[in-house]
Amino acid sequence: MAMVLDKSHTGRVFATHLALIVFIALSLFPFLMIISISLRAGNFAAGGIIPDHISLEHWKLALGFSYIDQFGHQVDPPFPVLHWLWNSCKVALMTAVVVLTLSTTCAYAFARLKFVGRKFGLNALFLMQMFPSVLSLIAIYAIFDQIGNYAPWLGIDSHGSLVLAYAGGVALHIWTIKGYFETIPVEIEEAALVDGASHFQTFRLVLLPMAVPILIVVFLLSFIGAIIEYPVASVLLHQEQNLTLAVGSKLYLYTQNYLWGDFAAAAILSGLPITVLFLLSQKWMVNGLTSGGVKG
């Protein structure tokens, strides 16, 4: 594709690249800052982006090791950061699985089945999603407090309650997946029905394999959402052992003493599972899964 270009084209390409580089630098800056803070001795938010002296004290604490400070005192890790990270991963994985299960099955029903109230249901879901969940914090607390009386594993201070609360946020995912399902030709499923598949078999054996990319996207989105969520988790979880990393790392920042360095190390750790999951799932996010099924 060697298209003939105007002379001013080179200049415009240069300007565009410059703008993009500035934009990338701007978005990378906070991230570099937090790495810098985590590697700086002491707990200071301000300072140069490249620390004068690299210190691993915050990382040692975050990873659960003690260290000896400049006065010869042993400093023990104040909080179980790795345990929080594990809690976060656990909650996020469970949430992603539950959200994916609910939203794919709902999306199938909305995309393919004819039933009374279909349109109303879709719009109602969408409208409810417009109110931020923070607004219902008190309700959420009260509901799970009550549920806890009957099923402690779903009550306050349980990870089950958090997963259930997050599972309420499936509406947007239903819309996303439904939109994708509707791009898949319905004849393929009809062929499966004629071949003797039940609706569920059609869904599981024919539709889902073709929808893998969007399922991965929804899985990742809900995983990330659960890892970084703060308000609901801060209301539902109380004991230090149960906290997620997002809620727990806030404990570094109490009014008398802002432990910026320790906080920064914990914050970077929370990005780790997301990165790993993203790298693992990338090979599934491919185009053209439906090509060849029908005449293009």
Binding site: P185, E187, I188, E190, A191, A192, L193, V194, D195, G196, A197, Q201, L205, V206, P209, M210, G288, L289, T290, S291, G292, G293, V294, K295
Partner: protein, 367 residues
């Protein structure tokens, strides 16, 4: 035995009725073709037979058993879709084995069945491929193979060849004809291509606007169409129609005065007609001869189309909304703008009354 019997089938989508009471008996092993213009209900009828659409009223029997309430898989049918509808994430083998797998067959049981069918369809070297690595014709053969392995009593084809290019379509048409002879199963085939209909069908069913216009062998429909619609639908170029009124009736023929005052004679049974009735004369393009004086109409040539094996002349005539089409020998030259006489033998003519119903032809198969 897989006879298919439709008794007063009605299909409604909400307030819209798309099938208005279809009655049809399809014999065991028959190749029946549904034709009609887009939106005439032929595909809807096929889908109600398959069970992909429910039946609003009436009864469907396959092999003498009521099928209205049974799901597709219990009807003993298999369907080939216009768009192939292959499972894109499965190999050719898995595509063909899918139905057998769902029927709880073991791999050892269904493998030889699939391989046999693949061999017949010349797909045996492609079994490991995914649909996207196949050509259009190969994909359609996989779709047909997927139907055959089910050993259905009734095959349903929904415009299976309309996505293929012309050469491949001819090839696949012959293929399907051979398949029908070999399997001996009942086949119901929907198409809008009248060549497919004429060549494949034991009987053709012509639909219009959700109603059955005529059922018969290709020859019957071509030479003894029941009405104007069927007469105009079959044949390419279509039949020429000229309006006029009856001026004289004899036992052998009816004389019609056309709009431009010319008189033509048509050999039809005039027992239900009377002089003065408004009628439509029909003549097929191959029965009109340019340059004859007897029983003729005249008009000005507007277009000459050379098709290679023959040519088609289009001639303007006041009695006809469309230019009259005339098939002439391939290399015969006629200048555009020239006035020509177009004659036909009375026994080759068709006559339709004001309601569009055909009057019985006295010698329909005359040479």
């Amino acid at each position: 035995m897989a006879t298919v019997s439709l008794k007063n089938i009605v299909k409604r989508f909400g307030d819209v009725t798309t099938l208005h009471g279809i009655d049809l008996e399809i014999r065991d092993g028959e190749f029946i073709v549904f034709v009609g213009p887009s939106g005439c209900g032929k595909t809807t009828l096929l889908r109600t037979i398959s069970g992909l659409e429910d039946i609003s009223e009436g009864e469907l029997q396959i092999g003498g058993v009521r099928m209205n309430e049974l799901p597709p898989v219990k009807r003993g049918i298999a369907m080939v879709f216009q768009s192939y509808a292959l499972y894109p994430h499965m190999s050719v083998f898995e595509n063909m084995a899918f139905g057998l797998r769902l029927a709880n067959m073991k791999k050892a049981e269904y493998t030889p069945i699939v391989q046999d069918v693949a061999k017949v369809l010349q797909l045996d070297h492609l079994l490991e491929r995914k649909p996207k690595e196949l050509s259009g014709g190969q994909r359609q053969r996989v779709a047909i193979g997927r139907a055959i392995v089910q050993k259905p009593e009734v095959f349903l084809f929904d415009e299976p060849l309309s996505n293929l290019d012309a050469a491949l379509r001819v090839q696949m048409r012959i293929y399907i004809a051979q398949l029908h002879r070999k399997l001996g199963a009942t086949m119901i085939y929907v198409t809008h291509d009248q060549v497919e209909a004429m060549t494949l069908a034991d009987r053709i069913v012509v639909f219009q606007a959700g109603r059955l216009e005529q059922v018969g062998t290709p020859t019957e429909l071509y030479y003894e169409p029941a009405n104007l619609f069927v007469a105009g639908f079959l044949g390419s170029p279509g039949m020429n129609f000229m309006t006029g009124s009856i001026s004289q009736i004899t036992p052998d023929e009816i004389t019609v005065a056309l709009a431009d005052g010319q008189n033509v004679r048509v050999a039809v049974d005039g027992s239900t007609a009377k002089a003065g009735d408004a009628v439509t004369v029909g003549v097929r393009p191959e029965h009109l001869t340019a340059g004859t004086q007897d029983n003729c109409v005249s008009g000005k040539v507007v277009v000459l189309e050379r098709l290679g094996d023959s040519s088609v002349l289009y001639v303007e005539h006041p009695g006809s909304a469309q230019p009259l089409a005339v098939r002439i020998p391939a290399l015969k030259h006629v200048a555009v703008g020239e006035t020509v006489n177009l004659g036909f033998k009375p026994k080759h003519g068709y006559l339709f009354n004001a309601q569009g119903i055909a009057l019985r032809r006295l010698d329909p198969l005359a040479e």
